[in-house]
Subunit: 452 residues, 4 copies
């Protein structure tokens, strides 16, 4: 394959702290035991932001000669890229937003991606790690008003669903709300585009377009350059925790297995009795054509986790103003609650997240097979294992490591109560039929098998 | 008719100088000989920005009870609006961009709209007046790089033409270029929307979306709130001069009579022998469907003004990147030229504009009838009268006063050489057929009659 | 005399609007009827800021070859100085603060110093002129808290008095107050130096050091470079009005005839019955050694203007904290009053200034002789003529024109009631004895003669 | 003793990162093993900034009831102080600069003062620790020009020496140079005051007044509130290293034992053969009256460390302009060198500092007795031990722990070559005679004894 590529040298963009000589060493190519490979692959994902593919392996193979180097200079460092995807440049100059993301990648890889960086022996330590990584990325600001809406949903949605996410983003922006997503295409890009226009109209000049990602997903969901605060969390659990600690309101657009994973993660936390009093605005929404999709999700939740879980969210179909007004009101309630409890506006300390939810889940064949998908446990525990099941399916679909495992050992095997496995089967089948498992146009080969 | 309206009190937005007691008096409703009525009608146009209509009279009748008042306070003034169009507000709060535009209206009405404000006895004085009005509006900044692209074209264009203007705006913005338009809908809004997205990606945070208008046109081409630098020039000639003095590059999208007027105005100036050495990037562009339209314009220019005129512009069809690259290069040339000649980057002093072009043209029946539409004169003089002819047609189509005149006295009569009148007839007919004279969907009753 | 001089080219400093070609012409040397000479002499005064002399003629003679030129460039103008006093430069580069003042001079000369610029046929027009000149100089800011303390007093005071003014300035600055003076040495510099230190400690980073001057006095009271907002009013009456409209609190340090003039100006206004309800904090202060001086002033006021006048001020000796606390409290009262009356925080519109006070007083021999220094008139009218008498004495002491008049026609003759002339004689004598008429070390030849 | 004290609650000043719940716990009073006591004593030192004493124990005893608490709120933290010295407040409100310093103390105590924070097993690690502490304090900025002048000298110097330090600071500031000191009174305050005035004149609005201190010295050399970048390093060695890594030029004013310590530290590093090529501008300066003092220092250096050491500095007497011009030139050379070597402008990475110099020296009786004060070693090793000797004397004079040790065990005993001990004796005697060991007016009881 013949790609257009560019070589270039770029100066730091954004607020970047100086690096020590020790830190610089960790990113150098020829340094043993360093972070260079991780840096290179995340950097490539950022540079390929227009080049959507959800095959994690493909990108690295496509740009085999891509290289990135730190240059030390009297005023700080520069980055030199070689063989970089041409679409990151205009007339030979890197798009500023992409350059900024590149330096964010560098910053985060250095700070939080060494195994020993953050001990996470208990829930407090894990939360502390998430906080410090976000703070180091300047995401935790001292004097904000609650206004961050997390938007979740598929990266490979249909045009009309995409347009709807733009309209929702526009209405959120009109109401002074900022956007946080997983920072890829589709439902992760639409709200940002919409909000960009309304922020301009509202002179909301410091609009935040937050993207939270992790090394395993970044290649498939490459951050679009509107994102002006990107954080690469070290693993998927820290990424999910970052979303719930940083967001003030939550919207779920149509998506596939990844979206289901996110919904189950949220419900697992919200069903924890300790979190009952905490306000947490959560809306599932899409255009008219997505009505059935959300009906299926709602049914699945009702059957598996019960009515209590269903009370934690609201479904609004095809009414972007209603969605935005609901978020605005919900966030006002969050603000009042935090003020009363002296909980920080910029980080949801009070929300209890079980240590179980924070521990990395390695979606290999054994772990997938051992998930407890039955009702002999509290709802929030079941939600946790359901979340893991969907997480594994996402890995098998789009993550480099997951794809290789499936190639080698065949599909993951999942087993559990029929009362859970049957609705799950139905839900996954509908995702496949609706082409929500892969980018439209590609044929889907399931990476899982339900053992009923 | 039953409109949703809102009453509200708004604080100054944007950089606004303090007002003297004398200035405040001029805007008060009950002050004799004041500027109140002008202020009220322009303010209403700004507030009705979503409410596109091109009937200048309609708006004032639709919002009969609309009122606006200055309130004097210890920290400066506030504005109180009563009976204002509801679409200017979100959840009862005025959209910030609209509030900013409202204060711009106030600023400009005060500064440049009293007859005696600026004597314009000769070309120098007229240019000085334009400069001072723009400077007072903070449009003339001390330390800029040339990057302002003026985009002209119809306010009532088709969806696909509109989408194309967005794409062009996006590509301009990617190259660090700012947008200046007549600030209504259609071709005046699309480039700004497109550039807003690419400016975000380029972190071009101080992107300028300049709108230049005048009291006679503002109601029909209400500024959209993305506009962050609005200037209400006192008359159409000063508005046109402002465009050519402030812009560094010029793009013409498809439009109707107004667009033809603008093209003829430009050519009238550029054909002046004194302006021959001055670089002036000018591109006519549209999607594939506009190819024929520009062919007709090009033919008309060739026949009436000659080949020299045709050399002053370039026609590019359906290639937004080519358009943007041409502008970027053209503006680089402008920069080099101004640097060499020590002409200001922020105001094109060297361009000679004949005093003829600066004097307000009152498009009444007599003046229209007396236009010299024949070839017994230098091309730039003919261009000037052709420009006036189209200006009168625009007035008869959409301006309050023009519409009333036509209602009273019947269509304007235009006469001249057959070699001019026939192509003109053909051009105007094609505008009518292509529904470029009025907002699509309304039937067009010609306001002119060509006497061949 | 052999002065060290420097040639240099300087770029604009501070917020400077672009100039039109017409404006630039007015400042060019070879342009007839222009403002060049005025510009040159004021510019020289600014450049000679360390070079204190109070002989208005001397400076121009000392730097005969000094020249200043505008250079037009693509990014705006530059100034070229030739034969400029070397003390304005450090290692060949002009001190930034001085460069800023130079551009302020240019701005003000252009705006307000053409005779026809501002008609002042009545009190409203004169006030409007003062407002617009200050606004053009960005002195009238939209969103301030009242905090400007005007400090008056001699430019040629003793070391211990000077040190005291520094201490007062320090205490004012600690309380968040800004300083406004006539911007020369002595009592006009000390408070600014003191406040600079305390503003640094309070992180009051946008501290304002306002200097108000006029062409006749600027050479003798050259602005020190701490001044970061300089305005050259066109005449002494507008300068005095600017002080009282812009200041929120007023302190008078020991001085000479100029200080007496300022005190009488204030009392003339404050004794106007229309101004009775307006709060106007006014303190006379100095170190212990100045106790007698203020006693003499107080006596003179008591005898000539009566007890009511004495109630308008407070005398505080040798207690800088008490002075600052009194100002802080007084300004709080001013704030409350303006808020209640909806009078602007940035300009004292409500204060009535009689048109008499606004009209330039030409201190020639005839006008001086005709002053009505008797008690057959309201106190505020007498104060006005007493003010004029002292104004004439200042002119005869230090102003170019005044000095020449005295050289030609001998001392001014003043006559009036013995009950006024005798205390006046005593007061002036004490000024002479205390060396308050001239810079210490020079012998004083009286420029006036009291005809009792 | 009866002190005026104030209770107050203060909001964060300066750029302060949010704190995690874990970090907040470390500063709470009732938390075991925490940093509270350290925080309290440093905070008190900052609050007592006007209250100069050089008895480290006195302050804590004087304000026994002083307490400081963190309050957690929705927008971040506040600090509550009880029983704080009244001089930190104006009209009941804490001086902003002091509040800022207080939050700096909090930041640094949290970051670098836990034993385990930074392993320093070798020179690289120790340097890395210094870098990270400074970076965390925002002292290491990404895009600076070299302009930091470190000023050392006594905190208890005479009026005329103090005035001279102000004049030097003024001249440095005129040349765009910033000031870094140990941040107490005397020679550490004068240059900052002088530079504040000239920075104002040069519109150098972001002037840096850097103070580097450590917990053992802060009480005796309380930072004055002009300091706008304060860092509390964890120990004296890191503090000294911070000076040499951050400064671009170095000035030594007259002082006592502490100043001698600093000079010896510098020479110890500069005599290291590895540092020979590195430019390092170093000037000793004072008014005429200090000529003899520097003669004695120079002699002592010549005798003990040799001529090579003497070549590393320049002595300039009573010529502030010469000092400033020398610094300006020297720093230009530093800039050229770093550019050539691609060494950072903001941190002197290339300077080699032996691990010996980085290890904390505990000045107890045994360690002092064991110092090798003889010539059987390279000059830079001898310089290191001489530095430790003076360091111990400073501790015995003004540090809490040192004073207690002397009270208990009598004076430190120092021994070595006569060729060193005799000149040292002479030097120390002259310090005592010139009252440079203690604040003038207090009798000095030597804390050391030279065993010859």
């Amino acid at each position: 394959m013949n790609n257009k590529v560019v070589d270039s040298r770029i100066s730091p963009v954004g607020h970047l702290d100086a690096l020590s000589r020790g830190e610089i060493n960790k990113l150098l190519k020829n340094n043993q035991g360093n972070l260079y490979q991780l840096f290179r692959s995340c950097a490539l994902a950022v540079l390929a932001s227009g080049n959507y593919s959800d095959d994690g392996k493909a990108l690295l193979e496509q740009y085999k000669d891509f290289d990135i180097q730190l240059l030390v200079q009297e005023r700080g460092i520069k980055l030199e890229v070689m063989g970089a995807p041409a679409e990151a440049f205009v007339d030979g100059v890197m798009i500023n937003g992409i350059a900024e993301l590149l330096f964010s990648v560098m910053r985060d890889i250095l700070y939080g991606h060494e195994k020993q960086s953050f001990p996470c022996a208990n829930s407090e330590q894990a939360t502390d790690a998430v906080f410090k990584i976000l703070r180091n990325a300047k995401l935790i600001r001292p004097n904000i008003e609650p206004n961050v809406v997390v938007c979740w949903g598929g990266h490979s949605i249909r045009r009309e669903e995409y347009n709807y996410t733009k309209k929702v983003g526009y209405e959120l922006g009109l109401r002074g709300l900022d956007i946080c997503t997983g920072c890829g295409p589709g439902a992760m890009k639409g709200p940002m585009k919409g909000a960009t226009i309304s922020h301009a109209k509202q002179r909301h000049t410091d609009g935040r377009y937050i993207g939270l990602t992790e090394p395993g997903i970044i290649a498939a969901e490459s951050p679009n350059p509107i994102v002006n605060e990107l954080v690469i969390l070290p693993d998927i659990e820290k990424r999910l925790e970052a979303f719930v600690r940083v967001g003030h309101g939550f919207i779920v657009f149509p998506g596939g297995a990844g979206t289901a994973e996110e919904i189950l993660y949220l419900l697992g936390i919200l069903l924890d009795p300790a979190n009952e009093p905490i306000p947490f605005p959560l809306v599932f929404t899409g255009p008219e054509s997505a009505r059935e999709y959300f009906q299926q999700i709602d049914d699945f939740i009702g059957i598996t986790l019960g009515e209590k879980a269903q009370h934690r969210y609201q479904i609004i179909i095809d009414d972007q103003q209603q969605v935005a007004a609901t978020m605005r009101q919900g966030i006002n309630d969050v603000r009042a609650f935090r003020k009363r409890e002296a909980d920080a506006y910029n980080f949801n300390w009070l929300l209890r997240i079980d240590h179980d939810f924070q521990q990395p889940f390695e979606p290999d064949h054994q772990n997938m097979a051992e998930l407890k998908l039955n009702k002999d446990q509290p709802a929030h525990k079941l939600a946790a294992d359901l979340r893991r099941a969907f997480s594994g399916i996402v890995a098998g679909n789009v993550k480099d490591q997951g794809i290789r495992a499936i190639e080698q050992h065949g599909p993951f095997k999942l087993q559990g109560d029929t009362a859970i496995m049957e609705p799950m089967d139905k839900l996954l089948q509908s995702f496949v039929e609706q082409q929500r498992m892969k980018l439209p146009g590609t044929e889907y080969h399931p990476c899982y098998q339900l053992v009923k």
